[in-house]
């Protein structure tokens, strides 16, 4: 009993524990196994019966549940795969019999509904008909095999009204291309005897275009012949639409993905390129430093005693070194531009000076018989704003290119104003300026006396002098007032032609000309050398500045490279705050030179020593005058005017400078009197009232005029003269390596003792350690030096004492080396310290003394060589140094060799 109880308990517990869906299996197990196990027991029959009953209940429950489940599944399925998967060829007739018994989930959706519909149909429209089994009825109907619809599916009423359909053919109901298609389809099924599905689109009167999934299956008679078809249509318009939408979306996604990968690829490539370029820039920089060491050491080597063979080897070494250096510089520039690192600066500069300077530099290193000339049109503004270093770089590049490809003849620069579509005439007016004033002296001696004295005023004169320089001063005064009101800056487009009479460029080479590493041909590359990067850089730079670089060329006749660039022109009179400006303005000679249409020429053989300037176009035509250099302008003007004989072209360098040097003083002295009386004083007299107020704003006016009125200012003239002569010698000495190496080594050795004869050297350096090291090196070289720690102290030192050489740190607190140099240069050129005062340096010496001081040492060469000591060896800073008036630079750290070399180069012998 105990076991029984246990079993009973077990049995009772079991049903509830079993999940219902596995009940059947469980039941079977018990049916078979239990009796076997408990056969010995007497009471077991009872238990078995009980169990059986339990099992029956269970299996009933299971069936119910299964049915329910099927129903649910069915609903669900119908929704989900509304028309999917009905592939078995079964006719409805077969289906009907077992419709209640075995519901195949795959097909019953249709059938199930068909059943319901049939019931409905029967109710609705077949009441009168005698009651018969649905099978019979259907068979009868089907046997008619007509086109009439006899029943419709549940979904149909959504599309077509019920009543409209029954008893009509689908041909009547539908319109559009689908009708014929469906008829054909039905025929096809009839013929083949195989069921098929197809999507067909019909036009419905109520809902427009609808797509149906048509399922057609043949109906067979008992004999097996096809007697008709069952035809079912399901509205799948939404599904089709969805499907299409999906397809479209998928397509879009695919496209998007493709685009994305493409973009990613591009980004990757761009990043790689940028990195490569950056890397190139860094590497070039890293390579350059040691390489310049190699080259400069080799240069020093040329100054030592060498035999012929050694010299030849060294020459090769130098030229290769130079080439590599140039290549690296070019690559560095190019990669800077391309990687967007290159920044443009906007500084004021004088285009005439740039042209002059570029030509002068080119002439200095010229190794063949070429005439270099520069034309600057009179309407080119005196001062424009742009990135002078880059512009100079472009010009230098183009000029050296032109020289390289020109065996004989001329190479020149033409600079003139062009109109830009965005510019109207009115805007260009202010540049029509000043013109026609070639030099102070000329004006003084000629009728243009009235304008004189304004030359130094830079932008101011843009207003005052402009339109007609010959207008008497009185009529100019009101104009001044008017033009003061003008906008602060305007843009002017300057066109620059660099032309040559060289070998020219064949037409087929023109397109690739500006591409990097491209030269006209391999032959050219061999013959002329070069990196093939120069023009690419020029083009990039010009475009970076918003201009265009073009070329026109005729083979064997020459080429012309033209670039047009926009520049800002400042017309604002308020510029006295800018110390640079002050320097420029104080430098009145430069200003006067800039004023007119200029023509510079560097004749062959003179190699840059001579350069004639044809100043004021109209007046000068009658009286061409010849000058040794820009600075000698005035004196030559004087001498010619006083002797009145036209003296034209070439004077050998030596003669010119000597002549200038000698004649300078007496000419100046003899002529200073007439000049000051004839030109200056009247001029100031009539201008002063008009400008009384302007002096307030811009006291450089004052200073300028004052200095002009004192006699002492004229003493500065001759001194400038000499400096010019010195300038001339210097490029020859430094740039013409050939000459240097040709020179007997004795001459170099003879230089050294001379330089030891106590030249005064000033070191301007703030870093104590650097001072100590440099001082020691200088001591080793036999020099004792004065040391100051910043620019202001340097200026003071120069005021007190005359130096033969200044070593100047560029980067210093209080006042940097560049500004200091500009102030010293300004003093040298004007004879006054106005610029220093502007910069806030109090004069410790009365200016008169300073002038006399300057006068005192002038004849021995008043332009002090200033050598920059620069920490960063970027070419920019070197350019900056030169632009500020420094003569050379030594990269830091200073080494024995470097300093020795510079001393030999710059100390007077």
């Amino acid at each position: 009993m105990e076991t029984d109880n246990i079993e009973d308990m077990d049995m009772e517990v079991l049903p509830s524990m079993w999940p219902e869906d596995i009940g059947a299996d469980a039941g079977k197990q018990f049916n078979i196994d239990k009796p076997g196990q408990d056969q010995d027991m007497l009471e077991e029959a009872n238990a078995v019966r009980l169990l059986r009953e339990e099992l029956d209940i269970l299996s009933k429950q299971r069936q119910e549940v299964e049915l329910k489940k099927l129903e649910i599944l069915e609903e669900h399925r119908f929704e989900e795969e509304s028309y999917g998967g009905d592939k078995r060829p079964i006719s409805i007739l077969d289906e009907v019999y077992d419709i209640w018994l075995d519901i195949a989930p795959k097909k019953h959706d249709v059938v199930f509904r068909a059943r319901k519909l049939r019931l409905k149909l029967r109710k609705h429209s077949k009441r009168l008909e005698r009651q018969s089994s649905p099978v019979e009825e259907l068979s009868q109907i089907l046997k008619r095999a007509d086109n009439f619809l006899h029943f419709v599916l549940q979904n149909a009423p959504v599309v077509i009204g019920h009543q409209d359909i029954i008893g009509r053919t689908d041909v009547e109901i539908f319109t559009g291309a689908g009708v014929k298609e469906s008829q054909d389809f039905k025929k096809e099924v009839l013929e083949k005897g195989l069921p098929a599905k197809r999507e067909i689109t019909f036009e419905t009167p109520l809902f427009g275009s609808k797509t149906f999934l048509i399922y057609v299956e043949p109906v067979f008679s008992k004999a097996g012949e096809t007697i008709g078809i069952n035809y079912m249509g399901m509205d799948v318009t939404d599904q089709v639409r969805k499907r299409e939408k999906m397809a479209k979306l998928r397509e879009e996604i695919a496209v998007q993905k493709a685009k994305e990968t493409e973009l990613n690829k591009t980004i990757h490539i761009t990043e790689e390129t940028m990195r490569a370029k950056q890397m190139l820039a860094t590497m070039s920089h890293e390579i350059r430093s040691p390489l310049s060491g190699v080259v400069s050491m080799a240069e020093i080597l040329t100054t030592t005693k060498l035999d012929r063979e050694q010299r030849q080897l060294l020459d090769v070494m130098l030229s290769s070194g130079d080439l590599v250096l140039q290549l690296i510089n070019d690559i560095l520039d190019l990669s800077k531009v391309e990687s967007g690192v290159m920044k443009l600066e906007a500084t004021k500069f004088r285009p005439r000076e740039v042209v002059k300077h570029v030509l002068q530099t080119a002439a200095a290193s010229l190794q063949k018989v070429l005439t270099l000339e520069g034309h600057v049109a009179e309407d080119v503004p005196v001062e424009v704003i742009g990135d002078v270093l880059r512009i100079r770089q472009i010009l230098t590049n183009l000029i050296s290119n032109a020289i390289k490809f020109t065996p004989e003849g001329k190479v020149g620069i033409r600079l003139y104003v062009v109109s830009d579509p965005s510019l109207d005439e009115g805007e260009r007016c202010p540049q029509k300026l000043n013109a026609d004033q070639s030099t102070v002296s000329e004006n003084g001696l000629k009728e243009d006396a009235d304008q004189e004295g304004f030359h130094g005023e830079g932008p101011y004169q843009n207003h005052s002098l402009n339109d007609d320089p010959r207008t008497p001063a009185k009529s100019e005064v009101p104009m001044d007032a008017d033009q003061e009101e003008e906008p602060q800056t305007t843009t002017v487009w300057l066109r620059c032609d660099v032309y040559d009479t060289g070998i020219g460029i064949p037409e087929n080479a023109l397109p690739s000309l500006f591409k990097r590493y491209m030269q006209v041909s391999a032959d050219h590359a061999r013959k002329y050398g070069g990196t093939g990067l120069g023009l690419a850089i020029c083009k990039q730079l010009v475009e970076l500045m918003g201009g265009q670089l073009t070329v026109s060329s005729q083979e064997h006749c020459g080429s012309t490279f033209t670039f047009v660039l926009p520049y800002k022109v400042s017309t604002s009179p308020d510029h006295s705050d800018d110390p640079d400006e002050v320097v420029d303005m104080a430098n009145h000679d430069a200003a006067t030179d800039e004023v007119a249409e200029s023509f510079f020429q560097f004749q062959p053989r003179t190699l840059g020593s001579l350069f004639s300037s044809n100043g004021s176009s109209r007046t000068q035509k009658l009286l061409p005058h010849k000058i040794g250099f820009s600075g000698s302008h005035k004196l030559n003007g004087f001498s010619q005017n006083s002797y009145t004989f036209p003296q034209n072209d070439i004077i050998p360098e030596e003669m010119a400078s000597v002549e200038n040097g000698c004649s300078a003083i007496d000419v100046a002295e003899t002529l200073s009197e007439p000049e000051s009386s004839a030109s200056h004083i009247p001029n100031h007299n009539c201008e002063t009232p008009a400008h009384a107020d302007k002096r307030g704003q811009d006291d450089t006016n004052n200073k300028f005029q004052d200095s002009r009125n004192t006699d002492s200012s004229y003493h500065a003239e001759p001194s400038r003269e000499v400096s010019v002569a010195a300038k001339i010698r210097e490029p020859l000495g430094t740039c013409k390596r050939q000459e240097k190496s040709d020179a007997d080594s004795e001459s170099t050795s003879s230089k050294i003792p001379k330089s030891i004869s106590k030249p005064k050297i000033l070191l301007v350096e703030d870093n104590k350690i650097n001072v100590m090291v440099t001082q020691n090196m200088m001591k080793r070289l036999g020099h004792s030096i004065d040391v100051v720690n910043n620019g202001i102290e340097a200026v003071r030192a120069v005021q007190h004492c005359s130096y033969n050489l200044i070593l100047m740190d560029v980067h210093m607190p209080v006042m940097d080396g560049l500004q200091t140099t500009r102030i010293i240069r300004s003093f040298e050129e004007t004879g006054n310290w106005d610029a220093a005062e502007k910069a806030g340096i109090e004069l410790t010496v009365p200016s008169q003394d300073a002038l006399q001081n300057g006068h005192g040492y002038t004849p021995s060469g008043n332009r002090i060589p200033i050598i920059a000591m620069t920490a960063n060896a970027f070419s920019e800073s070197a350019d900056e140094c030169f632009a500020s008036g420094m003569d050379s630079f030594v990269p830091k750290p200073i080494t024995f060799q470097k300093i020795k070399e510079r001393l030999e180069q710059y100390l007077p012998d």
Binding site: K768, I769, M772, V773, N776, H811, K892, P893
Partner: protein, 161 residues
């Protein structure tokens, strides 16, 4: 007799050993890039008239650098960092280290300056640490070098050229 001879031998040994040590040590400083060619320049400037030149310059460098590092530490400690000041001091340090040929400090200064140009305080602080580290390293090395030199001089040996 023999004892005296032995003594002079050991002394000669000591000197040559010291010399070798000094040469090796100097070479290692160059190999490990603590020093560069510029340091040779300094050594060339040292002669009979100026026997302590290198030591003098380097001591000045130590003094100056410590001042600059202090200034930099202070400057970077501020709530708002005066990058101009940082830049100025770094420039000074860079200039002096390059003049001495202490190239690892110089390089650290270049990185420092870049950070300061970017106004990157964190980078500056890191750079400062780096500079300090390099500085103390090279200071130790140089002091050892000078000590060796002194020992050699005391032992009566000439400095290797």
């Amino acid at each position: 007799m023999s004892a005296v001879k032995l003594e002079s031998e050991t002394m000669a040994d000591g000197v040559s050993q010291l010399q070798k040590q000094l040469v090796d040590y100097t070479a290692s400083l160059f190999d490990e890039a603590f020093l560069d060619e510029q340091f040779n320049q300094l050594q060339q400037l040292q002669d009979e008239n100026n026997p302590d030149f290198v030591v003098e310059v380097v001591s000045l460098f130590f003094k100056d650098s410590e001042r600059l590092v202090d200034e930099l530490t202070k400057a970077l400690d501020q709530q708002t960092v005066d990058f101009k000041l940082v830049d100025k001091n770094v420039h000074q340090l860079k200039g002096s280290s390059s003049s001495i040929g202490v190239q690892r400090v110089q390089r650290a200064c270049i990185a420092f300056r870049d950070c300061s140009e970017e106004q990157n305080v964190e980078g500056c602080l890191k750079s400062l640490q780096h500079v300090k580290h390099e500085y103390s390293l090279v200071k130790n090395k140089l002091e050892t070098l000078f000590k060796l030199q002194r020992q050699l001089l005391a032992a009566g040996g000439p400095l290797p050229r």
